[in-house]
């Protein structure tokens, strides 16, 4: 077994036993990246020299604790001091922040080794990572397929053993959906659990930092480090932070699990449904109580999302005007011309489309019919979940309607592409914690099992995921990257 194949927990053991140094691990991981990155294309920025330096400093410090010596990557819209943060956009192609996002600072302080920045759909707008302004990332399980998105680079890198863990973000499924497509763990904490400071905003009321790993326990460890209140983010709540690893128990006896019938209806691939139902049977076998429920407003989640998210995005992305940083069109003759041509050239089509959608939804005369209505529907969606959680501990469903689709297959067909998020978006609308874990394969492609919990009850998700992991081996399956690029 090579060092790069080990999980975070296994790497910690190796370090503690003195079987390898942080430098050994970093070199092994960098070697793996050299080997497969040409096929995967997960990294926008790879900082080999910096990584080796950090690892050597880590070794010089001696005793290993926390994330000492553990390599990781950040989705390239999480600001990293001194390292380019592009958002996969021409607009920020050369932008180097002079500050760290809170999550980046916390991982750094915990001793982790930042290898680089991972690809995404431009400004996190997309579900396939094909909307990156630079290049698409490929699914390690089938290089002709997408890794999902928008955090596709993070998911693919973890699945391809280029990194033991990575951070992404999840606004409408951007962590869970690519985790599902790439066969890894993807965790989206409750809105307000993790600071958004330094995470370039897409839709502020929905964005949350997510974690990718290959084991449930690794995810809990990373959460322990990144979660918790931050005086720099007013939406990050002051709650007692539990030790998330304390929930890793192989015990779901009498756990009340609901599966919403709306998440198994038409449009959901029958193979996916069957695979998820097998997982539900497994939970029953393990002593959980499994019942069907209804989330009646589910069908409105996606259209609601496509009003709320673009509306917020239209304001969040307005600051990219060429005045202070990033791309500027120097040919423009006056300031208004500079604004429009900078934005016309700096943003890709999907970003421009969402900005226009959002601008429209907020326009005078349309606000009540669109944005305000969307906020009301959002409340109904949240009430659906509240009703279920009054009686159940956990909701289980598929993460995505299908397995990963082919590159190029849905380009130019936004409505089909948006359907990828139909099962993940409601969780963001309600601000709940959600997770995707591998639960099987269909024609060689991973299927994800989505777990949804009460607000700030990440513990139940971790417990149920851990129990499932103890009784399955899907998470151990490795993609074969021997195939040639097509």
């Amino acid at each position: 077994m090579e060092l790069y194949e080990l999980t975070l927990r296994e790497l910690q053991q190796v370090l503690h036993k003195g079987e390898a140094s942080a430098t050994d691990i970093t070199k092994s991981v960098l070697g793996r990246i050299h080997e497969v990155e040409e096929k995967i294309k997960a990294f926008i920025t790879l900082d080999e020299e910096g990584a080796i330096n950090q690892a050597q400093q880590c070794d010089a410090r001696g005793a290993y604790s926390g994330l000492d010596g553990i390599p990781y990557g950040l989705k390239d819209l999480i600001c990293s001091q001194g390292m380019k943060t592009t958002c996969a956009s021409r607009m920020l192609e050369n932008f180097v922040p002079f500050y760290d996002a809170t999550v980046a600072a916390r991982l750094k302080a915990a001793g982790g080794i930042l290898l680089g920045k991972l690809n995404l759909d431009e400004f996190a707008m997309g579900s396939s990572t094909e909307q990156s302004a630079f290049f698409p990332t490929r699914n390690p399980w089938d290089l002709t397929r997408v890794p999902g998105g928008s955090s596709g680079g993070s998911a693919a890198a973890v699945a391809a053993r280029e990194l033991p863990f990575a951070l992404g973000t999840d606004t409408g499924g951007s962590t869970r959906q690519p985790a599902s497509y790439c066969g890894v763990i993807g965790f989206k904490p409750t809105y307000g659990r993790v600071s958004r400071y330094g995470v370039v905003a897409y839709a502020s009321s929905l964005d949350q930092v997510g974690v990718f790993s290959r084991e449930v326990g690794d995810c809990a460890q990373v959460l322990n480090i990144i979660a918790g209140k931050d005086p720099l983010d007013s939406t990050c709540v002051e709650l007692e932070k539990p030790d998330f690893t304390s929930f890793l128990k192989d015990d779901v006896k009498d756990l009340k699990i609901a599966y919403p019938r709306e998440y198994f209806q038409k449009g959901i691939d029958s193979g996916v449904k069957d695979t998820v139902k097998q997982a539900l049977l497994k939970y029953e076998e393990l002593g959980a109580i499994v019942e069907e429920v209804s989330l009646p407003h589910s069908e409105y989640a996606l259209p609601t999302y496509y009003l709320v998210a673009p509306a917020e995005a239209s304001a969040n992305l307005a600051r990219f005007d060429g005045v202070r940083y990033g791309f500027r069109d120097f040919q423009a003759e006056n300031v208004v011309g500079m604004f429009s041509s900078t934005r016309a050239e700096g943003f890709g089509d999907e970003v421009k489309m969402r900005i226009m959608l959002g601008t429209y939804a907020l326009s005078s005369g349309y606000y009540d019919a669109y944005y305000l209505k969307a906020l009301k529907v959002r409340r109904l969606i949240k009430e659906d979940f509240d009703n279920v959680f009054a009686k159940f501990d956990l909701i289980v469903a598929p993460t995505t309607p299908t397995t990963a689709f082919k590159l190029g297959e849905q380009v130019g067909d936004p409505l089909t592409l948006y359907m990828n998020d139909i099962l993940t978006v409601p969780v963001n609308m309600a601000g709940l914690p959600g997770m995707s874990i591998p639960c099987g394969f269909l024609e060689g492609m991973p299927v994800g099992l989505q777990l949804i919990g009460r607000a700030f009850d990440e513990g139940t998700l971790l417990r149920a995921a851990y129990a499932f992991e103890q009784h399955s081996d899907y998470h151990q399956a490795k993609p074969d990257l021997g195939g040639e690029l097509i």
């Binding site: 943060t85 920020l92 007013s234 304001a315 307005a318 600051r319 005007d321 005078s364």
Partner: protein, 479 residues
Amino acid sequence: MNFETVIGLEIHVELKTRSKIFCSCSNEFGAEPNTNVCPICSGFPGMLPVLNQQVVEYAIKAGLALNCEIADYCKFDRKNYFYPDLPKAYQISQFDLPICKKGYLDIEVDGVKKRIGITRAHLEEDAGKLVHQGTISSTPFSLVDLNRSGVPLLEIVSEPDLRSSKEARAYMEKLRSLLLFAGVSDCKMEEGSLRCDANVSVRPYGQKTLGTRTEIKNLNSFRAVEKAIDFEVQRHIEAIEDGEELIQETRTWEEDQQITRSMRSKEEAHDYRYFPDPDLPPLRISREWVNDLRLSMPEMPEQARERIMDQFGLSAYDAGLLTLSPDLLAFFDECTHYYHDGKIIANWMMGEMSKLLNQKNLDIGQCRIRPAHMAEMLNLIDQGRISGKMAKEVFQVMFDTGSSPEAIIKERGMEQISDEATLEKIILEVIANNPGAVEDYRNGKKKATGFLVGQVMQATRGQANPALVNQILARKLNS
């Protein structure tokens, strides 16, 4: 036709908190460009606002001073527009739920008292400013200074209750004094910490509906507010009388030409696409906090005015002037600790001191005269050590140097001569040297004493105690 003028004012005041509204940058005025800035107030990617609690406290205090209802629940909204001095391309403001509403203040114009309604007062962040070479239209490039970006502003909107430019000015002066007393703003129009936009319309007397309204911007002094309103009212009336149609628009006051000029019409107005800022949770203000602040409010100008009228027998007019700013009142109050007669203090403050300050274009806060020194000077007059006339000279030196009057008269030998023996000697010399005048006096020309007193004053370089001189001279002449 007779017309009635209807005016409403929108006033922005900067709150003088230590740091900006959403970041920890200094809120100091006058720093080098782009030195009071950070990634948050310059709108860098990923940055989030965090509300400054002191800003909320100051807004509540301002609301209490303006007799407003303080909201128990309010929120912040994004006002979207592109401009190079607006780093996020949206301004965080309060749209439909302001922190303060339904207040009022009382004004008095030409002896007539009037209550002016305040519709609302809401919090927002200021934008930066652009620096041009020459004018905005001819400059080869413009520079952006973001020191002001994120400075806390309270926008106070009056009801359209004002009926003349005089009332508008009185409203502004009263508002300014209330906010100064509440201690929440410097209210300096010249530094932009108090800014005013005026909404003006006219209508025939008796008409219920309002006429077409125009908004005037770029009013940088109380005087400009008055002048611009007068100009605009005249323009409206002439247009109506000429049968021209007025359009609802925003106009700018051109100080050098003393006219208003059209900036943009209603059709060109921005659609700001307000929506709640998802980065800031709604603000809940506990009644306990409001009550604590209410109890901690300092004396307001009306109370102070009553108090000094009662205590010192000042006229309503004088007391009104002394309570225009807390600095004036504090000066007065401190003087009264060392000198008993408030009226005399008030006369000196409103007379000599105000004259000197106006000459130098200073305000009381910059005055070098200490209240204790002023009181000392008044005591010296009462003790006869200096005359009223000499006091004016001493006062000028106090104003220029900040020295105490005692030191000044010592240093300059300005002390009044009240020693009888000394004066008698001088007077006898004057009598001896001016036999003609003495002759005149004795022949009944009583006016000759004036000449003789003048001679004594000349001989003592004005330092002789005039009362004593008159007394001794009369005695000598009649003996």
